[in-house]
Symmetry: D3
Subunit: 213 residues, 6 copies
Amino acid sequence: MTGPIVVINPNSNQAVTDGLDHALAGFRGAARIECVTLAEGPFGIESQRHVDQVALPLSALIETRPDAAAFVIACYSDPGIDLCRATAKVPVFGIQESGVLTALARGDRFGIFAIAEASIPRHLRYMRRMGVDHRLAGERALNMSVDESARGEGTLARLTEVGQDLIGDGADVLILGCAGMARHRVPLQAALKRPVIDPTQAAVAMAMGAVLA
Amino acid sequence: MTGPIVVINPNSNQAVTDGLDHALAGFRGAARIECVTLAEGPFGIESQRHVDQVALPLSALIETRPDAAAFVIACYSDPGIDLCRATAKVPVFGIQESGVLTALARGDRFGIFAIAEASIPRHLRYMRRMGVDHRLAGERALNMSVDESARGEGTLARLTEVGQDLIGDGADVLILGCAGMARHRVPLQAALKRPVIDPTQAAVAMAMGAVLA
Amino acid sequence: MTGPIVVINPNSNQAVTDGLDHALAGFRGAARIECVTLAEGPFGIESQRHVDQVALPLSALIETRPDAAAFVIACYSDPGIDLCRATAKVPVFGIQESGVLTALARGDRFGIFAIAEASIPRHLRYMRRMGVDHRLAGERALNMSVDESARGEGTLARLTEVGQDLIGDGADVLILGCAGMARHRVPLQAALKRPVIDPTQAAVAMAMGAVLA
Amino acid sequence: MTGPIVVINPNSNQAVTDGLDHALAGFRGAARIECVTLAEGPFGIESQRHVDQVALPLSALIETRPDAAAFVIACYSDPGIDLCRATAKVPVFGIQESGVLTALARGDRFGIFAIAEASIPRHLRYMRRMGVDHRLAGERALNMSVDESARGEGTLARLTEVGQDLIGDGADVLILGCAGMARHRVPLQAALKRPVIDPTQAAVAMAMGAVLA
Amino acid sequence: MTGPIVVINPNSNQAVTDGLDHALAGFRGAARIECVTLAEGPFGIESQRHVDQVALPLSALIETRPDAAAFVIACYSDPGIDLCRATAKVPVFGIQESGVLTALARGDRFGIFAIAEASIPRHLRYMRRMGVDHRLAGERALNMSVDESARGEGTLARLTEVGQDLIGDGADVLILGCAGMARHRVPLQAALKRPVIDPTQAAVAMAMGAVLA
Amino acid sequence: MTGPIVVINPNSNQAVTDGLDHALAGFRGAARIECVTLAEGPFGIESQRHVDQVALPLSALIETRPDAAAFVIACYSDPGIDLCRATAKVPVFGIQESGVLTALARGDRFGIFAIAEASIPRHLRYMRRMGVDHRLAGERALNMSVDESARGEGTLARLTEVGQDLIGDGADVLILGCAGMARHRVPLQAALKRPVIDPTQAAVAMAMGAVLA
């Protein structure tokens, strides 16, 4: 396949897109990976309204990219995933789905770092829909702003602390429940001595499996 | 990471290893992938005894490769997976587990092509252990020898016929339940108009996700 | 409570709204029930795109009705249900969810009449999210147009025939998987000798439970 | 339909029946609702023996009411539900079943107030039979006598306290696990800021859906 | 332990009790086993009413036997099981529960021979309550009278034929869903080449495990 | 049946075999029971490697005993269970599987005493494979050596303490998760006032059911 894997950041914050681009650098040898910003997206996807409002724009963006070999929707709520799949003629991966499925290959029970308390029920409904919620050990909120979580010096310390709680809940593998925390993956893995999954990397890896084979 | 992804063929048939090597050619840009044969393996893994007898040799092979960044056990019965994970200091992927998890990102209910009737209950127990058997639409045997399935001209026709039955069972994504049928993936996908998963490719993609990030 | 139960037809076909109004006549003694049309809706909701495109307009309509005691979204795909619940300060009922839950009180395993084959996977994902798919005996498509299904003389005969198949699948209670087939409920019940659930009536009954008490 | 919905209090305490009658006042506009006492019942249903001893008398009572359009068995243990269904020619609703199903339309994970510790395992078996126990956040006992729970001034305070614990368990909707606590529903809902389900009201609403349509 | 295992036939047909006595002859070396008839039982337990009407008499009988080391309720509907457990100070085993659990140790998916079509939904509810219905391959009715099934020459032929259907459903172990078919177990096992479980023998074995240890 | 039930201790510690022999004394009236040691086994089975290394020797031992009527693999990890079943022409029981299934007939939710923390994930995977993990209340480690657990005076006190925690987790029946703690069963049962299952006794009882009938 010659087309790129198009990773769509459904929010309009270009800094997040740039972060995705950086986090995927290691994957670039075998496949072309292009990170794009959904101009119509909100600055951050933090509510059910944000989730629902990007479905149609995501689908529209997909229609402008007939050259893509696969798409990744890079927001942990997997907004518009069903519509994007109905629209695209190529595989579409959601990062929550890919992150959770990948975690199931790395441990028995997974734990999730959520940015905000409010998104936990939304994630739980989605995991029930996947039929894998019985392997969830726990999900806990960092209670930081997205901005803070992506940059703040205190983030790794907070992740480590919440990660210990998730391990106490029974988790033996952990998922960063947000598109923008990839840079904490390796140090957090070292601190917790457990695999840590960045969901965008997980989705891109699955996309590579679909398009390179 | 600089070490290779080591894909182990747990049977001693070098032709199968060569086939794996060929099937993974597309993945070679971003990661080093090395396919090795388990010298102590039986010529084919066709029974529970074969499954159990390779566990310790697989673990021993893993100990000889401290340079590996990840391992893939390339037999659809995922032999020795628990021991290999206890042995290795790096991630270990089984191709059944990876193939099934990947299928869950490509469709709602999956169907499986088994080589032989006798392996179906073994696979079912394993999927129950994963906790995803409720998304299985059906598994059907090709009733061909492994040899035949890898080479025979009639194989694609047989796969297409059984694939139609699996679609009739409710499957919207299909898994090749064997390490040696990758070359049928693309034509079968075209014939059935449904995604077809090669489990070794799925496992290697997951391994890339773990080591490249 | 003094406000009305507002039943929203998310498509723009006023005839469907009128049909809902007629089907709910029997409920009017104890509660005010108002059936409204979503002007921005498509003429019929027949695809994932239709489902996604009405979410925001439904939410907007809800905001214009602070007087409502409860809302019912009268389309079997339960479009925009999560957003409507996030928007409304009063209970919101989806007719698929209410229809399925009500069926669980009337039989052990339920069967569903879908209008079109294409909506079956969408329904299945939603039932998995509810966690009740293990009590589904089967869902079968009528393969009629919505228009035909609502009016055609042949509809009852077709429902009876498909209903027999669903009973053969193990169903002891049946759900009309569409907002517009209420008038077939009583004769179909007589023909099949099994309870038949109209999902809009089921949702309105639940809404009455929430607001009258 | 012209017959009444007959709500049967399976214990012989007329005060409980009168309480039911009062709690259902709001439903009387659209349907006739008649609350009756099972003369043969124990004064309260507090043990497995009580549950089993009312099954045949309930069935006998049902046979004396060929005029009924539906029955509601108003005890949270749903005593004799299978026999009553085999006996009646019209729909029969149990309040536990109806209460739990209704809760599933109001929240993601439900919590239950039990009167006594001893009934919790009985309820759990019944929810497993329904196949919805995986959505139970928790059940906690008030550890009050039925009498106290129905009248005592401290009851609302106790319910509020236990309700906070259930919310801590993950519940976002709560069920009063007894036929006699309806009068606490509205104030408790206000105190906890979560929907509270009275199971008898839930069952009568479902019965209305079955008979009015 | 010195008391007997008391096996109660909840119907009043002494010939069934004698049959149980005969079927348990092989177990008599290590434990005293006493088979008794519930005088108050119906001649056969064939309906939900029969199931419910024996609960209290079974409990009363249990109270007359303080010498028993354990009880077995020898009817496949496990009538009164919860009450008998609440009454007895020693373990009580139901034959459906014991038969199904034992089957899970002998195969992956079990099939059941029911005497009559009408009891299948009752059994299914009970297996859901146990939480093991996902391992059920199928249940099929013999459609013979109990009398016929216990004696008739055609019974083995009929069992063999239905057994082949159950194997076709995916069953690799079979359960005789009735207390009176033990004498067909060994020949049926030979005919089907699959383990066949007599549920009374399974329950008595479990009872021996509880009392001999 | 005339052959013995052969109980195999898969570790090479003869004292454990003697303990099994002692624990099964009560079962000897009705069946011959022979306890044998797997000479090739490790001194104790404490890791995944130990589990995997005994599979082939267990199968070989089984082949030397064509006289056996049934086999019991007396290690709580059920090592080699699939291979032993493929090898033997008679029933094979694993003690974890038998212990858990037996517990399901004695209570609603079971708790498990593990010897070591490290075996808990292994047990959990196996219970998921059985499909009964949803009835697990909890598993807690004694954190004693096997040696200590079998003899030490403090063992009963430690079991009682951990048992109280398991009851706090919701367990109403408890399983000794090891082949060597049978002698604590009766006193522990008295201390905790809950049924306690010795898994080897449970497996031998099931084996008796299979061979005596």
